[in-house]
Amino acid sequence: MGEFIAGANFSGRSAALMARLRERAPAFFIGPYAEAALSGLSSTVADEIAIYRSANSSRPAFAPLDFPAYAARKPPTLSGGEQVLLALHCFSRSDYAAIGIDTALEQLDPGNRDGALAYLSRGAAHGFTAALIDNRLACPPGWASHELTGTTADFACDLAAIHAAPRAAPAIGVHDLSFRYPGGRDIFRDVDLLLEPGRAYRLTGPNGIGKTTLIKLLAGVLGPTAGALTLDGGAYAPWRSGNRVFALATQNPDHQWCGATLAEDLARRRAALARHSVSLPSDEELAKLASCLGIRSLDQHLYELPLVARKRLSWLWPLAGAMPWIMLDEPTLGQDRPTRAALADAIGRLTAQGHGALFVTHDDAFAARIDHRPLRLANETVLS
C-alpha cells in the first residue's frame, strides 16, 4: 500500500518522507528537481537507465516516453517533466522495494501524471511500497494518509500585500519563429503570435513539447534559428541586445540566482537593467516585497533557504513590477493550496495594472483563478 504524506508547507513532510525511506533503505528517491531526481552519475539517458537496471527486477517497466530514442541525450537537457519520467522509468527497471517522491509529480502533464499514479498505486502487486508528497492531490484511493498538522511561521508569506504600480506594457509580436536545438528536431516552425499587454497567457502542452524553450526564446536565453520578435511593432532581439522586457521566474528557482545573497542578486540585476534605462524599486521597497514572500532580510543567503522558500523568493522579481512582462515557469511547484491561490491573485492584480503575464503550469486549479488565454503547444507551433 502506498503512503500519502499530507500537510501544509513547512509541516515537516519532506523530513517525514526521508525518514520513511531511511527505514526502508536502500530506497529510490525522486526529489522536486533534477539534482534530486537523477543519479548525476550518467552522461546519457542510456547510462542512467543502465545504472539502475537490475536483472532481478520482474516488475513491468513504466515507459511513457520512447526512451531508446532519448538514449544519447544528456539527462539534464531533458525537460523537468521528462526528467521525472526518466527517474520513474529507472525505478521501474530497478530492484528497489521502496520509492519516495517529493512533489516531483507536480511537473507532469495530466496524462503522464495519471499514468504515474496508476503505476505507483499498483505497488503492492509489483512488490514495492511508495510514499508520496503532492500538493495538488488528495490522498489517492487505496493509499494510507499521513497528515502532518504542524507548521512554522518562519517563512510565512503575505502575497495579498503586494501591489504593483500601473504599467503600460508593450505588445510582443512573434513572427515566423523557428527553433531547433543543435543536432535536434524542430521544436518550433514558423510560429506567429501576438501577446497583448494587460493579459495573462498560459502555455499548455505535454512534457517536452517546448514550453520552457519558448520562454527562453522570449527572454533571449536562446536565439531562434529563424524569425523575429517585435515590441509594439519595433524590432526586438533580446538574444543580441539583452533582456529588458521579461521578468522570469524559472521552474527550478536555482536556475535564476545571480548572486549568493538576495542583496547581491538584486544589486546585479539593478546594475544590468540600468543600462537599458529600466527603473527599479528601491532597496527598501524590495526588502518589503521580500518580507511579503517570507524572507526577512536582503542579506539572506539564498542557498541556505529551504527549497519551498527559494521557490517563493523566485517570484520576487516578477512581482516587483520592474519589468513590463512577467514569465513564470511552473510557479506553483511545491506550494500548498493557500499559497497557490494567493500567487494566482497577485498575477491577476499585475495584469489588471497593465502588465503582461505568460505562465506555464499543469495546475488547472491555479490557472482557473487567473483570467487568461490558453496557448497550446502542438505540432511545432503555438495554437491560440
Partner: protein, 239 residues
C-alpha cells in the same frame, strides 16, 4: 577493437609524442594516429577540429612569445648563442604538434566506439573497480560543471546581465558567471549527496554496473598496438 586496446594504443602514442624531439618523428606519430583514426571508418573532421581548437590558443601564445618577442629557442638561450626565429618556430611547432597528437589520439580512440556510452566504455576496461568508479565520478563532475555553466548562463542572460551573443560587454561581468557556476556546482552536488545518494546507496550500484569481465584483447588490438609501438620506438631512436 576493445576499449583496453584503444587505451593501450593511446598510451603508447602519447608516450611516443612525449619522447619525440623533432618535427619529423612527431609527423610519423601523427601519421600513425591519422591511420588509426581512419581505421575507425568514422568521420574524423570533428576530432581534427577539436584538437586544433585545443592547440590554437597555445600556438598563438607561444608564437607571440617565442617567435615574436624572444626570437630564439630555449636551447639556444641555454647555450648562450645568438639563435634565430626559425629555431624558435621549430620549437613552437614541436610543442604544439605534441599537444595536438595527444588530443587527437584520445579522440581517435573514441572514434572506434561509435554508439558506446561512457559507462559502457569504462565498464569494459581492465582496471580496479575503485579506479573505474573514480573515472565515472570524474566524468560526472565534468558533466555537472557543464550543466552548471548552462544554468548560470540562463540566469545571467534572463536577468539582462550578459547577452547570449558573444560580446565584449560580457567580459566585465565574466567573474559573476564564474561565481554563479561554482555556486551552482556546489548546489547540485549538495542536492545529490544530501538526499538522493545516501538513501539510494546510488554509488554502490556502480559496482554492479561496472562489474563483469572486460573483453579479451583481439587481433585488431595487437595490430594497432604494434603500429603504435613501432612509431614510439622510432621516435626514441631519433632522439
Amino acid at each position: 577493437m576493445t576499449p583496453n586496446g584503444a587505451v593501450i594504443f593511446g598510451f603508447v602514442i602519447i608516450a611516443g609524442a612525449l619522447v619525440a624531439r623533432d618535427v619529423v618523428s612527431l609527423m610519423v606519430i601523427l601519421a600513425i594516429t591519422l591511420i588509426f583514426a581512419f581505421g575507425s571508418r568514422q568521420r574524423i573532421w570533428s576530432a581534427l577540429l577539436w584538437s586544433t581548437g585545443i592547440v590554437l590558443p597555445l600556438a598563438l601564445f607561444m608564437g607571440l612569445v617565442w617567435i615574436g618577442i624572444v626570437g630564439r629557442a630555449p636551447h639556444e638561450i641555454a647555450a648562450n648563442v645568438e639563435g634565430s626565429r626559425a629555431a624558435a618556430a621549430v620549437y613552437t611547432a614541436v610543442i604544439c604538434l605534441r599537444l595536438f597528437i595527444i588530443a587527437f589520439a584520445i579522440q581517435a580512440a573514441f572514434l572506434h566506439f561509435p554508439g558506446w556510452t561512457p559507462l559502457r566504455f569504462v565498464a569494459a576496461l581492465t582496471a580496479p573497480q575503485i579506479a573505474k568508479k573514480l573515472l565515472v565520478l570524474t566524468l560526472s563532475l565534468i558533466d555537472t560543471i557543464l550543466q552548471a555553466v548552462d544554468r548560470a548562463r540562463t540566469a545571467l542572460i534572463a536577468a539582462g546581465i550578459i547577452t547570449r551573443r558573444q560580446s565584449w560587454r560580457n567580459l566585465r561581468p565574466g567573474w559573476i558567471l564564474v561565481q554563479t557556476v561554482w555556486l551552482t556546482v556546489v548546489t547540485i552536488a549538495i542536492g545529490r549527496t544530501r538526499d538522493k545518494w545516501p538513501v539510494e546507496d546510488t554509488l554502490a550500484r556502480l559496482d554492479r554496473t561496472l562489474g563483469g569481465a572486460a573483453p579479451r584483447l583481439g587481433g585488431a588490438d595487437f595490430a594497432w598496438a604494434a603500429l603504435a609501438i613501432a612509431g614510439a620506438a622510432m621516435a626514441l631512436g631519433m632522439r
